[in-house]
Symmetry: C2
Subunit: 411 residues, 2 copies
Amino acid sequence: MLTREQCEDLDRSDPLASFRNEFELPDDVIYLDGNSLGPLPKKAKERAREVVEQEWGQDLIKSWNKAGWFELCERLGNKIAGLVGAGPGEVIVCDNTSINLFKVLSLALDMKADRRKILMEGSNFPTDVYVAQGLAKHLGYGHEVIFAEREQLLDAITEDVAVVSLVHVHYKTGRIQDVKAIAEKARSVGALVVWDLCHSTGAVPVDLEDWKADFAVGCGYKYLNGGPGAPAFIYVAKRHQGRFRQPLDGWWSHKAPFEFARDYEPAEDIWQMMTGTQPILSMALLEVGVDMMARADMGLMREKSKRLGDLFIQLIDEKLDGYGFEIVSPREADERGSQVSLTHDCGFAIIQALIEKNIIGDFRAPDILRFGFAPLYVRYSDIWDTVECLEEIMRKNLWNLPEYQAKAAVT
Amino acid sequence: MLTREQCEDLDRSDPLASFRNEFELPDDVIYLDGNSLGPLPKKAKERAREVVEQEWGQDLIKSWNKAGWFELCERLGNKIAGLVGAGPGEVIVCDNTSINLFKVLSLALDMKADRRKILMEGSNFPTDVYVAQGLAKHLGYGHEVIFAEREQLLDAITEDVAVVSLVHVHYKTGRIQDVKAIAEKARSVGALVVWDLCHSTGAVPVDLEDWKADFAVGCGYKYLNGGPGAPAFIYVAKRHQGRFRQPLDGWWSHKAPFEFARDYEPAEDIWQMMTGTQPILSMALLEVGVDMMARADMGLMREKSKRLGDLFIQLIDEKLDGYGFEIVSPREADERGSQVSLTHDCGFAIIQALIEKNIIGDFRAPDILRFGFAPLYVRYSDIWDTVECLEEIMRKNLWNLPEYQAKAAVT
């Protein structure tokens, strides 16, 4: 049996421990929801003041050049490229994941004009499916979104599939896709692959070049700690740039935006994926999170993340047996992203009770309790305290209060 | 002949004068570029700290409910509705103008499935044209963007036009479109109308209900003073909601986003125009600008804006005769938005020389000098000083310096 002292020992010898001090985390909170919204880096506080008070307030319109606002999407893209194994000029930051997925899926369908099928996982984050369905309906050429789950995925990648569009780390279970097998099968039948990296960037190793990836999208507000609704990114492999067009043309994707020419001519590089003016304040704070992530060693992060998950699973097994929880994330750490999910029939009420104790996880309908273990600020002792608290909630029936039941009814 | 004292008198009796103190404007700057980026409201400084440090930093994920982040796009939409003569539930805030135009144009083409023409002004802000051209190409059904300029516009609105998509106030000349005539002609031939309100919202009276408008888009960072790249808005008349679908489907436009259902079902209200997660920091600061605008009387603003423009034109006539300037904005104030534009062959160098003197206007290729007169913070004496400075620059040839010529060569 483990002890809290052993967890504290692990914290003391944690090579990533110093990163926690770079975040503005409330003292009494255990934050296990960085897979939904990463916490505030302390430097982002200063940066916010600088952007608002100096760059906007004092330098006004000049900041588009002087403070590099216009190039920010590209500069930040290149920094994120370094986190996902992409090369310079292959990533750009803009808009949100859904809109960016629309752009790359449009581009992919354009490249595979003789095919009509988009293959997705029906169980994964639904916005990806909605975007594909909306695009298919909009085009009106009989495109179809077809579904396969993990075990059936490889067989479903056939010669009539235009594009395989998958989330790398499953938003509910945390299961990591078998990228290499999928990429190889897709290549063998001539299908393109789009990776949604929302739950992987800054959490698990991603190597787009090694994967021979075609396209990818990902978000800035989870493990990159970019702030609420921080802009998203788009990856387009160099070999696919300058040949096809995404449809959301705007002046930021024009070859010469400041010529204000009447007719559209696309940029031939990654700027072609842009559309219009970007939310500079949100984007500037994302840069702080990305800069911090660039200093963290992915090998160490992955190692700690796996150990945090393993510890959680071990403690759940030891302390919560018989309370009706089931672990739905892979028990094998290599198959798991930086989260562990449980199911429980009363999951919603249990998460509410936990949040009441200042331990923040989240709930995903119908019955999933999600715990994210971001290695830059989650401690081994946090895992211990979380499971202790869960055990107390179950033992004392603290979740079974009328107010939590009422909230469950309206969710 | 006017005097500076007369301008100062006008400032002293200006009923809007107190608004200037609500902005963080550098003392030594005359800011005539609010038509490109509005200045920082002082309250936005405090709001930025609150959103970043309290809502993100301390309350973390809970702020999506507790601080109303999720509903912000709708709440802010309703506030903007009040500024543009729209009803509750007809406006929502999200993304940028170009992307929002893509959504409403898609919707309009869907509603007019038997027509193929999109009518636009070729001389106006090009991103609107680019979006329409991108959409037409993407659909691949032979849609075509056709062009007509002001005098020819009404005749060009014929029975094969699906949608007339126009900028309300011209970005270069400041000329206001004849909305009523265009709307009437469009209605008579069964065409829909989209208004781009980027240069009108917060600057000239807009009454979408009175105009019987179909759709509109507009931006948050110009006269609404929402900050660099602040999100844009979309207006869809109630009568057009719930019947057709824009193609950028995402979880934020789903009927029940938190059910995480596999298949897309559109919201039936203005939320259908959403796509994905919004940049909350940028959006929260836009609310400050919108709240201030809601307190300002549009009648007084319009009156002052016209007088500022008239004063500028009068002084240009008096003091800059013979220096090669031409006034390209309408001399008749009722036909003009809140800006006056001049042309000059050496316009770029002259604007640089003016900026060097801390008077900020802007330049639009090939030869336009643009001066925006936002009535909440521009003073009559600023107009006087600007023309005095322009006169000095011309008289002393201050624009004709090698560094300005070099910059012109690379722009």
